[in-house]
Protein backbone atom coordinates (compact mmCIF):
# COMPACT_ATOMS: atom_id res chain seq x y z
CA UNK A 1 0.00 0.00 0.00
CA UNK A 2 1.33 3.41 -1.01
CA UNK A 3 0.07 6.40 0.90
CA UNK A 4 -0.88 9.58 -1.02
CA UNK A 5 -1.48 12.78 0.84
CA UNK A 6 -4.49 14.92 -0.06
CA UNK A 7 -2.38 18.10 -0.20
CA UNK A 8 -0.32 16.56 -2.99
CA UNK A 9 -3.56 15.81 -4.86
CA UNK A 10 -4.84 19.39 -4.45
CA UNK A 11 -1.53 20.84 -5.62
CA UNK A 12 -1.44 18.54 -8.64
CA UNK A 13 -5.00 19.45 -9.64
CA UNK A 14 -4.27 23.18 -9.23
CA UNK A 15 -1.22 22.89 -11.49
CA UNK A 16 -3.06 20.78 -14.06
CA UNK A 17 -6.05 23.14 -14.43
CA UNK A 18 -3.69 26.06 -15.08
CA UNK A 19 -1.43 24.18 -17.50
CA UNK A 20 -4.38 22.65 -19.37
CA UNK A 21 -5.91 26.09 -19.91
CA UNK A 22 -2.68 27.79 -21.00
CA UNK A 23 -0.87 25.13 -23.08
CA UNK A 24 -2.71 23.04 -25.64
CA UNK A 25 -1.53 19.46 -26.25
CA UNK A 26 0.98 18.96 -29.11
CA UNK A 27 -1.41 16.79 -31.13
CA UNK A 28 -3.96 19.62 -31.15
CA UNK A 29 -1.34 22.22 -32.20
CA UNK A 30 -0.18 19.90 -35.01
CA UNK A 31 -3.74 19.33 -36.20
CA UNK A 32 -4.30 23.10 -36.33
CA UNK A 33 -1.14 23.60 -38.40
CA UNK A 34 -2.27 20.87 -40.77
CA UNK A 35 -5.70 22.49 -40.98
CA UNK A 36 -4.13 25.80 -41.92
CA UNK A 37 -2.25 24.09 -44.78
CA UNK A 38 -5.26 22.14 -46.04
CA UNK A 39 -8.05 24.70 -45.71
CA UNK A 40 -9.10 25.99 -49.14
CA UNK A 41 -11.14 29.01 -48.05
CA UNK A 42 -9.05 32.18 -47.70
CA UNK A 43 -11.13 33.36 -44.73
CA UNK A 44 -10.83 29.89 -43.17
CA UNK A 45 -7.06 29.87 -43.62
CA UNK A 46 -6.89 33.24 -41.93
CA UNK A 47 -9.00 31.95 -39.01
CA UNK A 48 -6.52 29.09 -38.56
CA UNK A 49 -3.67 31.63 -38.50
CA UNK A 50 -5.44 33.69 -35.84
CA UNK A 51 -6.08 30.58 -33.75
CA UNK A 52 -2.43 29.49 -34.01
CA UNK A 53 -1.23 33.00 -33.14
CA UNK A 54 -3.64 33.07 -30.19
CA UNK A 55 -2.25 29.81 -28.84
CA UNK A 56 1.28 31.20 -29.09
CA UNK A 57 0.31 34.37 -27.21
CA UNK A 58 -1.45 32.36 -24.49
CA UNK A 59 1.59 30.13 -23.96
CA UNK A 60 4.11 32.98 -23.93
CA UNK A 61 2.04 35.27 -21.68
CA UNK A 62 0.81 32.47 -19.40
CA UNK A 63 -2.81 33.38 -20.00
CA UNK A 64 -5.71 31.07 -20.84
CA UNK A 65 -6.17 30.20 -24.53
CA UNK A 66 -9.90 30.90 -24.19
CA UNK A 67 -11.75 33.06 -21.68
CA UNK A 68 -14.12 30.14 -21.15
CA UNK A 69 -11.83 28.10 -18.95
CA UNK A 70 -14.63 25.62 -18.57
CA UNK A 71 -16.15 23.39 -16.01
CA UNK A 72 -13.36 21.27 -14.56
CA UNK A 73 -14.02 17.70 -15.69
CA UNK A 74 -11.73 15.35 -13.83
CA UNK A 75 -11.03 11.67 -14.41
CA UNK A 76 -9.43 9.83 -11.52
CA UNK A 77 -7.92 6.37 -11.81
CA UNK A 78 -7.42 4.90 -8.37
CA UNK A 79 -4.97 1.99 -8.09
CA UNK A 80 -5.87 -0.78 -5.62
CA UNK A 81 -2.38 -0.48 -4.13
CA UNK A 82 -2.94 3.14 -3.16
CA UNK A 83 -4.17 4.49 0.15
CA UNK A 84 -5.48 8.06 0.07
CA UNK A 85 -5.21 9.86 3.36
CA UNK A 86 -8.11 12.32 3.72
CA UNK A 87 -11.11 13.36 1.65
CA UNK A 88 -10.33 12.80 -2.05
CA UNK A 89 -13.31 14.72 -3.41
CA UNK A 90 -12.57 17.72 -1.19
CA UNK A 91 -8.90 17.58 -2.18
CA UNK A 92 -9.83 17.71 -5.87
CA UNK A 93 -12.23 20.63 -5.41
CA UNK A 94 -9.62 22.47 -3.27
CA UNK A 95 -7.20 22.04 -6.18
CA UNK A 96 -9.73 23.42 -8.66
CA UNK A 97 -10.37 26.41 -6.37
CA UNK A 98 -6.63 27.14 -6.01
CA UNK A 99 -5.86 26.71 -9.70
CA UNK A 100 -8.71 28.89 -10.96
CA UNK A 101 -7.75 31.60 -8.46
CA UNK A 102 -3.97 31.55 -8.97
CA UNK A 103 -4.10 31.06 -12.75
CA UNK A 104 -6.51 33.98 -13.33
CA UNK A 105 -8.95 31.52 -14.87
CA UNK A 106 -12.60 32.44 -15.28
CA UNK A 107 -15.13 31.28 -12.72
CA UNK A 108 -17.96 29.89 -14.82
CA UNK A 109 -20.00 27.74 -12.42
CA UNK A 110 -23.38 28.68 -10.94
CA UNK A 111 -24.64 27.04 -7.75
CA UNK A 112 -28.02 25.97 -9.08
CA UNK A 113 -29.31 25.53 -12.63
CA UNK A 114 -32.40 27.66 -11.93
CA UNK A 115 -31.24 30.15 -9.27
CA UNK A 116 -27.88 30.65 -11.05
CA UNK A 117 -25.59 32.35 -8.54
CA UNK A 118 -21.90 32.09 -9.43
CA UNK A 119 -20.01 29.96 -6.87
CA UNK A 120 -17.06 32.33 -7.31
CA UNK A 121 -14.35 29.67 -7.37
CA UNK A 122 -15.32 27.39 -10.29
CA UNK A 123 -16.21 24.53 -7.97
CA UNK A 124 -17.61 21.96 -7.89
CA UNK A 125 -15.81 19.91 -10.52
CA UNK A 126 -17.45 16.98 -12.31
CA UNK A 127 -15.44 13.97 -11.21
CA UNK A 128 -15.36 10.45 -12.68
CA UNK A 129 -13.70 7.70 -10.63
CA UNK A 130 -12.37 4.40 -11.89
CA UNK A 131 -10.68 1.67 -9.91
CA UNK A 132 -7.75 -0.10 -11.55
CA UNK A 133 -5.13 -2.68 -10.59
CA UNK A 134 -2.14 -0.41 -10.09
CA UNK A 135 -0.06 1.36 -7.47
CA UNK A 136 -0.74 4.87 -8.77
CA UNK A 137 -3.36 7.56 -8.72
CA UNK A 138 -3.83 9.04 -12.20
CA UNK A 139 -5.58 12.39 -12.53
CA UNK A 140 -6.70 13.79 -15.89
CA UNK A 141 -8.06 17.31 -15.99
CA UNK A 142 -10.19 18.24 -19.02
CA UNK A 143 -11.70 21.73 -18.70
CA UNK A 144 -14.73 21.89 -21.00
CA UNK A 145 -16.25 25.09 -22.36
CA UNK A 146 -19.99 25.74 -22.40
CA UNK A 147 -20.36 26.64 -26.07
CA UNK A 148 -19.38 23.25 -27.45
CA UNK A 149 -20.89 21.29 -24.56
CA UNK A 150 -24.27 22.90 -25.37
CA UNK A 151 -24.16 21.38 -28.87
CA UNK A 152 -23.79 17.82 -27.54
CA UNK A 153 -26.50 15.18 -27.09
CA UNK A 154 -27.45 11.61 -26.26
CA UNK A 155 -29.96 9.79 -28.42
CA UNK A 156 -31.31 6.27 -28.12
CA UNK A 157 -31.47 4.89 -31.67
CA UNK A 158 -33.13 1.61 -32.70
CA UNK A 159 -30.88 -1.35 -33.52
CA UNK A 160 -32.45 -1.23 -37.02
CA UNK A 161 -31.04 2.30 -37.49
CA UNK A 162 -27.56 0.76 -37.54
CA UNK A 163 -24.45 2.47 -38.79
CA UNK A 164 -26.37 4.65 -41.27
CA UNK A 165 -28.57 5.94 -38.45
CA UNK A 166 -25.50 6.84 -36.41
CA UNK A 167 -23.96 8.59 -39.42
CA UNK A 168 -27.08 10.68 -40.03
CA UNK A 169 -27.37 11.63 -36.37
CA UNK A 170 -23.74 12.77 -36.25
CA UNK A 171 -24.04 14.79 -39.45
CA UNK A 172 -27.34 16.37 -38.37
CA UNK A 173 -25.87 17.28 -34.98
CA UNK A 174 -22.74 18.87 -36.46
CA UNK A 175 -24.75 20.72 -39.11
CA UNK A 176 -27.22 22.08 -36.56
CA UNK A 177 -24.33 23.20 -34.34
CA UNK A 178 -22.82 25.25 -37.19
CA UNK A 179 -20.57 28.02 -35.89
CA UNK A 180 -21.73 27.70 -32.27
CA UNK A 181 -19.17 25.20 -30.92
CA UNK A 182 -16.20 27.14 -32.41
CA UNK A 183 -15.12 24.97 -35.35
CA UNK A 184 -12.74 23.44 -36.22
CA UNK A 185 -14.22 20.98 -33.76
CA UNK A 186 -13.39 17.54 -32.47
CA UNK A 187 -16.29 15.11 -32.45
CA UNK A 188 -16.34 12.53 -29.64
CA UNK A 189 -18.84 9.73 -30.11
CA UNK A 190 -19.97 7.11 -27.60
CA UNK A 191 -21.62 4.07 -29.21
CA UNK A 192 -23.35 1.52 -27.02
CA UNK A 193 -23.59 1.00 -23.28
CA UNK A 194 -26.80 2.63 -22.05
CA UNK A 195 -28.09 6.18 -21.64
CA UNK A 196 -25.40 7.54 -19.29
CA UNK A 197 -22.61 5.29 -20.55
CA UNK A 198 -22.96 6.66 -24.10
CA UNK A 199 -22.35 10.20 -22.83
CA UNK A 200 -19.32 9.16 -20.82
CA UNK A 201 -17.88 7.17 -23.75
CA UNK A 202 -18.24 10.27 -25.93
CA UNK A 203 -16.43 12.43 -23.41
CA UNK A 204 -13.65 9.84 -23.03
CA UNK A 205 -13.31 9.68 -26.82
CA UNK A 206 -12.36 13.38 -26.72
CA UNK A 207 -9.37 12.53 -24.51
CA UNK A 208 -7.78 10.31 -27.14
CA UNK A 209 -4.76 11.68 -29.04
CA UNK A 210 -6.04 13.20 -32.28
CA UNK A 211 -3.54 11.18 -34.35
CA UNK A 212 -4.24 7.76 -32.78
CA UNK A 213 -6.01 4.94 -34.61
CA UNK A 214 -8.89 2.97 -33.16
CA UNK A 215 -7.70 -0.61 -32.46
CA UNK A 216 -10.97 -1.95 -33.93
CA UNK A 217 -10.45 -1.74 -37.73
CA UNK A 218 -14.19 -1.41 -38.47
CA UNK A 219 -14.57 1.47 -36.02
CA UNK A 220 -11.33 3.04 -37.29
CA UNK A 221 -12.79 3.03 -40.82
CA UNK A 222 -16.07 4.46 -39.50
CA UNK A 223 -14.18 7.29 -37.76
CA UNK A 224 -12.38 8.12 -41.01
CA UNK A 225 -15.48 8.08 -43.20
CA UNK A 226 -17.43 10.16 -40.67
CA UNK A 227 -14.66 12.76 -40.53
CA UNK A 228 -14.65 12.90 -44.32
CA UNK A 229 -18.43 13.41 -44.40
CA UNK A 230 -18.37 16.05 -41.65
CA UNK A 231 -15.77 17.94 -43.64
CA UNK A 232 -18.05 17.92 -46.69
CA UNK A 233 -20.72 19.85 -44.77
CA UNK A 234 -18.98 23.12 -45.69
CA UNK A 235 -19.24 24.69 -42.22
CA UNK A 236 -15.50 25.39 -42.05
CA UNK A 237 -13.44 27.31 -39.48
CA UNK A 238 -15.77 29.40 -37.27
CA UNK A 239 -18.70 28.40 -39.51
CA UNK A 240 -17.76 30.92 -42.19
CA UNK A 241 -17.54 28.23 -44.88
CA UNK A 242 -14.64 25.94 -45.66
CA UNK A 243 -13.22 22.45 -45.91
CA UNK A 244 -12.07 21.86 -42.35
CA UNK A 245 -15.06 21.67 -39.99
CA UNK A 246 -13.56 18.99 -37.75
CA UNK A 247 -9.96 18.12 -36.88
CA UNK A 248 -10.87 14.61 -35.75
CA UNK A 249 -13.72 12.22 -35.08
CA UNK A 250 -13.26 9.62 -32.33
CA UNK A 251 -15.61 6.77 -31.47
CA UNK A 252 -15.50 4.76 -28.26
CA UNK A 253 -17.74 1.71 -28.01
CA UNK A 254 -19.24 -0.61 -25.37
CA UNK A 255 -21.59 -3.61 -25.49
CA UNK A 256 -25.27 -2.72 -25.24
CA UNK A 257 -28.79 -4.13 -24.69
CA UNK A 258 -30.52 -6.15 -27.44
CA UNK A 259 -33.15 -3.38 -27.65
CA UNK A 260 -30.85 -0.37 -27.84
CA UNK A 261 -28.35 1.56 -29.92
CA UNK A 262 -27.34 4.43 -27.61
CA UNK A 263 -25.34 7.25 -29.22
CA UNK A 264 -23.60 10.06 -27.33
CA UNK A 265 -22.14 12.94 -29.29
CA UNK A 266 -19.85 15.29 -27.38
CA UNK A 267 -18.49 18.18 -29.39
CA UNK A 268 -15.26 19.91 -28.44
CA UNK A 269 -14.11 23.27 -29.74
CA UNK A 270 -10.62 23.68 -31.19
CA UNK A 271 -9.43 24.56 -27.68
CA UNK A 272 -9.23 20.84 -26.83
CA UNK A 273 -7.69 20.83 -23.38
CA UNK A 274 -6.57 17.97 -21.21
CA UNK A 275 -3.60 17.21 -19.03
CA UNK A 276 -2.72 14.18 -16.88
CA UNK A 277 -0.43 13.26 -14.03
CA UNK A 278 0.34 10.05 -12.16
CA UNK A 279 0.94 10.33 -8.43
Amino acid sequence: MRKIDCNAISEAVARLVIEANVFLPDDVLKALERGEREEESAVGKDIFRQIIKNNEIAASEGMPVCQDTGMAVIFVEIGNEVYIEGDLEKAINDGVRMGYRDGCLRKSIVNDPIKRVNTGDNTPAVIHYRFVRADHLKITVAPKGGGSENMSLVKMLKPADGKEGVRRLVLETVRAAGANPCPPIIVGIGLGGNFEKAALLAKEALLRPLDDRNPDPDIAAFEESLLEDINKLGIGPQGLGGRITALACKINTYPCHIASLPVGININCHVARHKSIEL
Binding site: V43, I57, C66, Q67, R106, A179, N180, G234, L240
Partner: protein
Protein backbone atom coordinates in the same frame (compact mmCIF):
# COMPACT_ATOMS: atom_id res chain seq x y z
CA UNK B 1 -11.80 48.53 -42.82
CA UNK B 2 -11.58 50.56 -39.62
CA UNK B 3 -14.88 51.57 -38.03
CA UNK B 4 -15.62 53.76 -35.03
CA UNK B 5 -18.23 53.43 -32.31
CA UNK B 6 -20.93 54.55 -31.76
CA UNK B 7 -22.07 53.27 -35.17
CA UNK B 8 -23.45 55.99 -37.41
CA UNK B 9 -25.86 55.52 -40.34
CA UNK B 10 -23.21 56.01 -43.03
CA UNK B 11 -21.09 53.20 -41.53
CA UNK B 12 -24.07 50.86 -41.16
CA UNK B 13 -25.01 51.51 -44.79
CA UNK B 14 -21.48 50.79 -45.99
CA UNK B 15 -21.03 47.46 -44.16
CA UNK B 16 -21.75 44.21 -46.01
CA UNK B 17 -21.73 40.58 -44.82
CA UNK B 18 -18.19 39.28 -45.26
CA UNK B 19 -16.45 42.59 -44.60
CA UNK B 20 -13.50 42.33 -42.23
CA UNK B 21 -13.48 45.26 -39.84
CA UNK B 22 -11.33 46.67 -37.07
CA UNK B 23 -13.50 48.29 -34.42
CA UNK B 24 -12.24 51.33 -32.48
CA UNK B 25 -13.90 53.15 -29.59
CA UNK B 26 -16.12 52.30 -26.65
CA UNK B 27 -18.09 49.04 -26.56
CA UNK B 28 -19.98 47.34 -23.72
CA UNK B 29 -19.75 43.71 -22.59
CA UNK B 30 -22.90 41.82 -21.66
CA UNK B 31 -23.87 38.16 -21.82
CA UNK B 32 -26.66 35.92 -20.50
CA UNK B 33 -27.35 37.24 -17.00
CA UNK B 34 -26.80 40.91 -17.87
CA UNK B 35 -29.12 40.59 -20.87
CA UNK B 36 -31.88 39.23 -18.66
CA UNK B 37 -31.53 42.30 -16.42
CA UNK B 38 -31.34 44.81 -19.28
CA UNK B 39 -34.45 43.24 -20.83
CA UNK B 40 -36.36 43.49 -17.58
CA UNK B 41 -35.47 47.19 -17.24
CA UNK B 42 -36.61 47.95 -20.78
CA UNK B 43 -39.85 46.03 -20.26
CA UNK B 44 -40.58 48.17 -17.21
CA UNK B 45 -39.70 51.31 -19.17
CA UNK B 46 -36.72 52.04 -16.93
CA UNK B 47 -33.33 53.38 -17.90
CA UNK B 48 -30.47 50.97 -18.72
CA UNK B 49 -27.11 51.41 -16.94
CA UNK B 50 -25.53 52.55 -20.21
CA UNK B 51 -27.09 54.26 -23.26
CA UNK B 52 -28.07 51.84 -26.04
CA UNK B 53 -28.44 54.41 -28.84
CA UNK B 54 -25.85 53.69 -31.55
CA UNK B 55 -23.87 51.40 -29.23
CA UNK B 56 -22.20 48.01 -29.67
CA UNK B 57 -22.51 45.12 -27.21
CA UNK B 58 -19.80 42.47 -27.08
CA UNK B 59 -21.00 39.07 -25.87
CA UNK B 60 -18.15 38.07 -23.61
CA UNK B 61 -17.31 37.13 -20.06
CA UNK B 62 -13.60 37.85 -19.72
CA UNK B 63 -11.12 35.90 -17.65
CA UNK B 64 -9.67 37.88 -14.70
CA UNK B 65 -6.80 40.25 -15.49
CA UNK B 66 -3.37 39.35 -14.19
CA UNK B 67 -1.74 42.00 -11.99
CA UNK B 68 -0.91 45.07 -14.08
CA UNK B 69 -3.09 43.99 -17.01
CA UNK B 70 -6.24 45.69 -18.32
CA UNK B 71 -8.21 42.48 -18.82
CA UNK B 72 -7.72 38.73 -19.15
CA UNK B 73 -8.54 36.58 -22.17
CA UNK B 74 -11.78 37.87 -23.68
CA UNK B 75 -13.17 36.06 -26.71
CA UNK B 76 -16.79 35.96 -27.90
CA UNK B 77 -19.45 33.67 -26.45
CA UNK B 78 -22.21 31.99 -28.47
CA UNK B 79 -24.83 34.55 -29.48
CA UNK B 80 -28.07 32.55 -29.82
CA UNK B 81 -28.51 32.56 -26.05
CA UNK B 82 -29.02 36.34 -26.23
CA UNK B 83 -31.64 35.99 -29.01
CA UNK B 84 -34.71 36.15 -26.72
CA UNK B 85 -33.57 39.59 -25.47
CA UNK B 86 -32.00 41.06 -28.60
CA UNK B 87 -35.00 42.46 -30.55
CA UNK B 88 -35.94 44.56 -27.49
CA UNK B 89 -32.41 46.00 -27.28
CA UNK B 90 -32.38 46.74 -31.02
CA UNK B 91 -35.73 48.49 -30.67
CA UNK B 92 -34.11 50.77 -28.11
CA UNK B 93 -31.28 51.81 -30.41
CA UNK B 94 -28.57 49.16 -30.13
CA UNK B 95 -26.69 49.16 -33.44
CA UNK B 96 -24.04 46.47 -33.17
CA UNK B 97 -23.45 43.09 -31.55
CA UNK B 98 -20.27 41.04 -31.49
CA UNK B 99 -20.44 37.32 -30.77
CA UNK B 100 -20.23 34.02 -32.60
CA UNK B 101 -22.77 31.69 -34.18
CA UNK B 102 -26.01 32.16 -36.08
CA UNK B 103 -28.94 34.26 -34.85
CA UNK B 104 -32.63 33.36 -34.80
CA UNK B 105 -35.01 34.44 -37.56
CA UNK B 106 -36.56 36.94 -35.12
CA UNK B 107 -33.18 38.56 -34.47
CA UNK B 108 -32.25 38.64 -38.16
CA UNK B 109 -35.60 40.29 -38.87
CA UNK B 110 -35.00 42.85 -36.11
CA UNK B 111 -31.49 43.53 -37.47
CA UNK B 112 -33.06 44.49 -40.82
CA UNK B 113 -35.94 46.40 -39.30
CA UNK B 114 -33.89 48.49 -36.89
CA UNK B 115 -30.84 48.74 -39.21
CA UNK B 116 -28.13 47.15 -37.10
CA UNK B 117 -25.13 44.88 -37.74
CA UNK B 118 -24.08 41.57 -36.21
CA UNK B 119 -20.34 40.89 -36.16
CA UNK B 120 -18.46 37.69 -35.33
CA UNK B 121 -15.12 37.55 -33.60
CA UNK B 122 -12.99 34.39 -33.65
CA UNK B 123 -14.22 32.10 -30.89
CA UNK B 124 -11.34 30.77 -28.84
CA UNK B 125 -8.91 33.48 -29.98
CA UNK B 126 -9.36 35.12 -26.59
CA UNK B 127 -5.74 35.97 -25.77
CA UNK B 128 -5.23 37.56 -29.19
CA UNK B 129 -8.45 39.58 -28.95
CA UNK B 130 -7.63 40.83 -25.43
CA UNK B 131 -4.67 42.73 -26.93
CA UNK B 132 -7.07 45.10 -28.68
CA UNK B 133 -8.71 46.04 -25.36
CA UNK B 134 -7.00 49.10 -23.92
CA UNK B 135 -9.27 50.00 -20.99
CA UNK B 136 -11.92 48.09 -19.05
CA UNK B 137 -14.19 49.18 -16.24
CA UNK B 138 -17.18 47.46 -14.60
CA UNK B 139 -20.14 49.84 -14.88
CA UNK B 140 -23.05 47.60 -13.82
CA UNK B 141 -23.96 44.36 -12.06
CA UNK B 142 -20.63 43.66 -10.31
CA UNK B 143 -22.39 40.85 -8.41
CA UNK B 144 -22.43 38.85 -11.66
CA UNK B 145 -18.64 38.41 -11.65
CA UNK B 146 -17.46 37.70 -15.18
CA UNK B 147 -21.00 38.47 -16.42
CA UNK B 148 -20.91 42.07 -15.13
CA UNK B 149 -21.31 44.85 -17.71
CA UNK B 150 -17.96 46.34 -18.64
CA UNK B 151 -17.31 49.50 -20.58
CA UNK B 152 -14.24 48.73 -22.66
CA UNK B 153 -12.15 50.79 -25.02
CA UNK B 154 -10.93 48.89 -28.05
CA UNK B 155 -8.41 49.71 -30.74
CA UNK B 156 -8.53 47.64 -33.94
CA UNK B 157 -10.75 44.94 -32.48
CA UNK B 158 -10.86 42.30 -35.28
CA UNK B 159 -14.33 41.19 -36.41
CA UNK B 160 -16.24 40.15 -39.50
CA UNK B 161 -19.71 41.25 -40.59
CA UNK B 162 -22.20 38.35 -40.48
CA UNK B 163 -25.60 40.07 -40.79
CA UNK B 164 -25.89 43.49 -42.43
CA UNK B 165 -28.82 45.91 -42.74
CA UNK B 166 -29.63 44.47 -46.20
CA UNK B 167 -30.52 41.01 -44.91
CA UNK B 168 -27.34 39.22 -45.99
CA UNK B 169 -26.04 36.37 -43.81
CA UNK B 170 -22.39 35.31 -44.13
CA UNK B 171 -22.93 31.98 -42.32
CA UNK B 172 -25.49 30.89 -44.92
CA UNK B 173 -23.49 32.16 -47.89
CA UNK B 174 -20.15 30.79 -46.66
CA UNK B 175 -21.42 27.30 -45.93
CA UNK B 176 -23.34 27.12 -49.23
CA UNK B 177 -20.11 27.80 -51.12
CA UNK B 178 -18.31 24.82 -49.57
CA UNK B 179 -21.05 22.26 -48.96
CA UNK B 180 -20.42 19.04 -50.89
CA UNK B 181 -22.77 16.63 -49.16
CA UNK B 182 -26.54 16.35 -49.22
CA UNK B 183 -28.22 13.93 -46.86
Amino acid sequence: MEIKTPLKDDVLERLRAGDRVFICGIIYTARDAAHARLFELLEKGEETPFPLEGQVIYYTGPAPAKAGWVIGSAGPTTSYRMDPYTPMLLKHGLKGMIGKGARSEEVKEAIRKYRAVYFAAVGGAAALISRSIKKAEIIAYPDLGTEAVRKIEVVNFPAIVINDIYGNDLYEEGVRAYQRLEF
